[in-house]
Symmetry: C2
Subunit: 343 residues, 2 copies
DNA sequence: TTGTAGGCGTTATCAT
DNA sequence: ATGATAACGCCTACAA
């Protein structure tokens, strides 16, 4: 059983006090060059590793960012590819700044007392900040968290708190652009399948759709908006119904790529082919979008960028910079591929 | 600025010593019921939250599992859907046992001294165990990590260490089953697109393919095995070449769903339709598999199960149970959908 | 049953 | 430039 080599051990072996060792290691100016040199060498020889717990206990900084990430009912944890890519961006960004990510998994961390609570879990680990991904913004525990003293950033959810920021894509503009693209191709009967309508992206994309329809002088038809949940299956069913309409749409804007894929699938099952018989545009530009058949025309969210922006926000706030916008919106980009064509 | 309520505060307010408070909170037997009651109530009133750092400093247990997860060259972090699902399984499983996950992001945690090193990062945070996902098993730092004192579990990679276990799917059997399925359908010219051949799953699936070809009395043809990298694009190119062969295959076993999707795409581009002109079977059963067009016939890996098995292994080893197999193999299951048919 | 005190590994504040 | 020494918040013998 190797004993952990501590700062005391270094002090003993190098014949100085622990205080000096600490200063040497942390690059303080007031330590004689040769002393520092000696200590540094010894540290690397012994492969000394500082204990984060001890350090954070005294500095009150853990250099850890907590991540709360779950997805809705019936869609077990961590399932939507979109979130993962965002997480990747976050990871990269905060990593560069010396932070690690704590993915909260347990509701009673450490087998500890009492039930869970977001705030409690975050405090328990003394995280310096929190990223909220795919949570329900109306959850009272989430609200308590963002009202607390810990800097938070919410991705794709509307949330307010003294120390929290929100980052999301410009969903409304993107949706409108989707419709305009379809219209430009010559489509006039354009339907939409929405995301979960109790989520900010869900309503924003629907709003964008409506605005564009109106702005283009198209008739708004109730039967052309179907409610989905961001996942494939819901869109498949919705598309079935859409296609069964007396006057079916010639194009569908699905508020997520997963749903666009579901729509394509439903079309195929109905004997229709995309884009020949039906155009479909998605939203997200998930990794698979270019690879499915046909390749998806979609609105690209800058997923890494969202994660990075979230990381930025946290790092800045943790550093004590309060001058930050409450909401940060990232542009989306239309990517035209094979799932859309003239009617 | 709210002051953190500590155990001392609880002691002061409840008129007992910190020792008693600690014992009460941790459910020791030797504390008078009414005393405990009083303390517990006070704790919950004040919303007391223990500090993980302080506790782990003294107990030498952090209740945190470190996760190292990256993917190969040119495929930025966290990209392969397979890994995410595994992570989900791991998260669930260890969460139930009171562990959280630390997703290592920084190479110089805490802005600390010296360069990174897996082992160092793990020690720095005093994680109780480590999960290794999508790493290069030949990396010398990875090897150092698994030779260390920290319990490790490697997913989908071959690795040996005194305190490490490996979990993976039965890739060989699965690949063989894919070939047999195709053969049963009547196919005789069956090609394969491999995964990265320097990875254990990559070679195992290739081996399974070879075994089955042989066992079925089919001729093994060199030109029928193409090397891919588990991602879509590589399979698309491979398929192009396969289809350009003087005697092209009538079926392809792609060693990953992403590659199967790439293959389907290439077929479409060549004017062929799946499964009418070409059968394709994948591996993984990613979330999208049932939703793409056509729905993928594939070998389902129990991704949540892999994550859970990994969690199990870690939790048990952390608890000090050494009686464990070094390698744990999970069965895969053939899922027949729409991408395969008789030739 | 409860209090006291030492220690976990660091950093930080004083002196010196 | 360096050494003591006191925190940080908690657990756990050992005493009482």
């Amino acid at each position: 059983m190797e004993e952990r080599v501590t700062i005391r051990e270094l002090a003993r072996r190098s014949g100085v006090s622990v205080g000096t060792v600490s200063r040497a290691l942390n690059g303080y100016a007031d330590v004689r060059p040769e002393t520092r040199e000696r200590i540094m060498r010894l540290a690397s020889e012994l492969d000394y590793t500082p204990a984060a717990a001890a350090r954070s206990l005294v500095t009150q900084r853990s250099h850890v960012i907590g991540v709360f990430m779950e997805t809705g009912e019936g869609h077990p944890d961590l399932q939507h590819p979109f979130f993962h890519e965002v997480l990747g961006g976050l990871k990269q960004r905060v990593g560069r700044e010396g932070f690690d990510l704590l993915l909260f998994a347990s509701e009673r961390p450490g087998g500890g007392y009492g039930p869970h609570s977001y705030l409690k879990r975050a405090r328990h680990h003394s995280v310096d900040g929190c990223a909220l991904i795919g949570l329900d913004p109306d959850d009272s525990e989430v609200r308590r968290l963002v009202r607390g003293e810990i800097p938070c950033v919410a991705i794709d959810m509307q949330l307010e708190g003294p120390n929290t920021e929100v980052v999301m894509s410009d969903n409304e503009a993107g949706a409108a652009e989707a419709v305009r693209h379809l219209h430009g191709l010559g489509h006039r009967r354009i339907a939409t399948i929405t995301g979960m309508i109790d989520s900010r992206p869900g309503v924003d994309r629907l709003r964008g759709y409506r605005n564009a329809i109106q702005e283009l002088g198209l008739a708004y038809r109730d039967e052309y908006v179907r409610y989905g949940d961001f996942y494939a299956e819901s869109a498949r069913e919705a598309t079935e119904k859409l296609l069964a309409l007396p006057e079916p749409p010639t194009a569908i804007f699905a508020a997520a790529d997963l749903m666009a894929i579901g729509a394509v699938r439903a079309a195929a099952e109905a004997g229709l082919s995309v884009p020949a018989d039906l155009s479909v545009v998605g939203f997200d530009d998930i990794q698979l979008a270019p690879h499915v058949n046909p390749p998806l025309t979609t609105l690209r969210q800058d997923k890494l960028g969202l994660g990075a922006a979230a990381g930025d926000a946290l790092v800045a706030r943790i550093a004590g910079d309060p001058e930050r916008p409450q909401l940060r919106t990232l542009p989306v980009e239309l990517v035209v591929r094979g799932s859309t064509a003239a009617p």
